[in-house]
């Protein structure tokens, strides 16, 4: 009996604290800011979005000036998905453009916060690094480790951020709301009012994905679209296909909105296999999706979370070590979407299916072989 009471108490505890804690992923201010940035004109050379930036906040880096050659250290959250593989290849190629970089030390946290904290510690203890680049596995968890590193050497953070302003700069594209807005507005513009939209999400709880979803839902609500479901696919093709099949069995689907496009082709195949016309769909810049889009010509948009952002930290690192100013403390770069109009620029059947087309890598050394292309 006593055990029972304890168990009930623990469950109640779980439930009550859960109620009290809801992080805010639906921030109208941030939503409007990102909506503006999407259409704003970025500073920097045209056609090279990886060095472009919004706004004019610049940080002085004279105090980091140092003679070369440099050892660049990179604590990577992981190379556990195709997006990160493309990005990591970009970064390695970018290093080749900078003879002043003697060595790139890369430690892979294999998707574990705990390991990444230890990795950063190791890099600091190693004492070889001229600069530290961090792609944090999660924002909150890596904050203390990054704070510690800031005290020792210049730190550049990109992709996901950290909850501290101590890094020299934080490089990232417009953001989750922007992605959600691009995809959401496309669906809203093309689907009739009251159309059935299925939201396919990867997993709950990841901040960048949550903001994408909240932005889209806000738009769908404004437009009066009927969101008939919000399902989590875990990025798994088979699960995605099964989920869509089940929805098709239950009724009609007009549009599919995805918070990440990795499994877009699987979702489309469910329609094909059921003998239904392809829906309006939002994907991402993965080659398999772009090629299918080109071949079938359905209504689609591919907002991107561009992998060219992996080039920027290296560029920034060299600037910082030379003492040149860089955009900061936030370096917000453009986040273009692929549309039917510019699709042809990005489709390339020589590239592997999971290659992310918005890589800005076409002129980098060893392209396309290093990216797996022919």
């Amino acid at each position: 009996m006593r055990r029972l009471i304890t168990a009930t108490l623990a469950a109640a505890l779980l439930a009550s604290t859960a109620q009290a804690q809801q992080l805010n992923f639906d921030d109208p201010v941030e939503f409007d800011k990102q909506r503006q940035q999407l259409t704003a004109k970025a500073n920097g050379p045209e056609g090279e979005p990886w060095v472009q930036y919004y706004g004019d906040a610049i940080v002085d880096t004279a105090k980091f000036k140092k003679d070369g050659p440099y050892t660049v250290c990179f604590s990577n959250a992981g190379v556990n998905n195709a997006w990160r593989v493309t990005g990591w290849t970009n970064m390695q190629a970018e290093v080749k453009l900078h003879p002043e970089i003697k060595e790139l030390i890369h430690v892979d946290a294999e998707g574990s916060d705990d390991k990444q904290i230890a990795d950063i510690d190791d890099l600091l203890n190693g004492g070889k690094c001229s600069v530290l680049i961090v792609s944090p596995n999660t924002t909150a968890a890596l904050t203390p480790a990054v704070e510690k590193a800031c005290g020792v050497l210049p730190v550049i953070v990109f992709d996901r951020g950290v909850n501290t302003k101590c890094p020299v700069t934080f490089i990232h594209p417009v953001g989750g709301y922007g992605f959600g807005i691009q995809a959401g507005e496309f669906v809203a513009a093309n689907a009739p009012a009251g159309a059935n939209v299925l939201l396919l999400r990867i997993i709950p709880g990841v901040d960048v994905l949550e903001t994408r979803a909240s932005a889209a839902k806000r738009i769908f609500k404004e437009k009066g679209l009927n969101v008939i479901g919000e399902e989590f696919t875990e990025g798994d093709n088979a699960k995605t296909k099964s989920i869509v099949e089940d929805y098709l069995a239950k009724g009609s689907l007009d549009a599919i909105w995805m918070d990440a496009g990795a499994t877009a082709v699987a979702a489309l195949e469910a329609f094909e296999d059921a003998g239904k016309p392809l829906p309006i769909i939002t994907g991402e810049d993965q080659q398999d999706f772009l090629q299918k889009w080109k071949a079938e010509g359905f209504k689609a948009i591919a907002p991107t979370y561009p992998t060219y952002q992996w080039r920027t930290p290296i560029i920034a690192a060299v600037k910082v070590l030379r003492g040149d100013p860089v955009p900061g403390p936030e370096w917000v770069m453009p986040q273009p979407a692929i549309t039917a109009e510019n699709l042809d620029q990005y489709v390339n059947d020589k590239m592997p299916p999971l290659h992310h087309a918005m890589c800005g890598c076409e002129k980098l050394p060893d392209y396309p072989a290093a990216w797996g292309g022919k």
Binding site: W88, A238, E245, K250, A266, G372
Partner: protein
Amino acid sequence: MTQPASMRNIAPARRRLQQINPVYFVLAVLIVAIAVSNPSFVEPTGYMNFLKRAAPLAILAAGQIYVIVSGGFDLSVGSLITLTVVGSSMLLNNNADATWWVILVMYVIGALVGLINGLVVSYLRVPSLIATLGMMITLNGVAFMWSSGSPRGYLPETFRYFGRVNIQGVPLIQFLPVALIALVMVGATFYWLMHRTNFGRMLHAIGDNPRAAKMSGVPVERVRVLAFMVSAFSAVTAGILLGGFAGVSTDVGIGYELQAITATVIGGAQLLGGRGSVPASIAGALTLTAIFTLLNFVGLPKPTRDVVQGVILIAAVVLATYRRNRTGT
């Protein structure tokens, strides 16, 4: 003479009913429940899609039961599925002509993996849980190394045929998924091998009591190695179907090892060996898939599905233990 009186008095029909594995009743109930909650399920598209989707797990469970009956576990099947899909995409690179030899290469790799698992367990005496855990980690690494992190080739339609295509114009049922044909063929072969050959009996014997089996002349090591090879064969087959169903991705196989073991347990298999059936394991896999489908139709979120799967897993074992204790066997 040794039969308790109560057993003798039960009418034959009822006794036979008691002997039927409860997994079949559970499956039947679930199917009815799905049909009620979603009437379109009784149409060919409904149930055929269901079977097509369940086929890889069912085949995997039918292979896993070989290792379970022999007294071990095979945790490496999930990674082997991943390796099959990634490896095929690397070798094929959208070249349809290569389909057949690539499939052959995959089966050779599978046979090798099963062989190594079996040899490590038999001759190095490493518990299968650890041996196949090591293999799982290793194969995952191999798949990633091979593809440098993301697969670099497409799977041509000839390869995807097995997992994706429905043969149209079949009388009565309109269409027939190739995956279902694969399931029936593999299921029938595995059933025969497990329940109609000396090998199957040897498998039960070594899982039941390896020392007695050895002393009775059973080639324990050879049988055990073969069990792991059958399991690996099923994993490659499941990989081909999954790759066909959903295309290239790097994490296709994740979690399948535990699902396959769960399916065999729901099918009444005795962990640590000696008892288990291929059809019941397939039924276990269908049951598991049916539960997920039903929860999906009812609209329960994934967290609830995890809880339900956990509870069902434990309940299946409790029920089996209870039945065994009650019948005194």
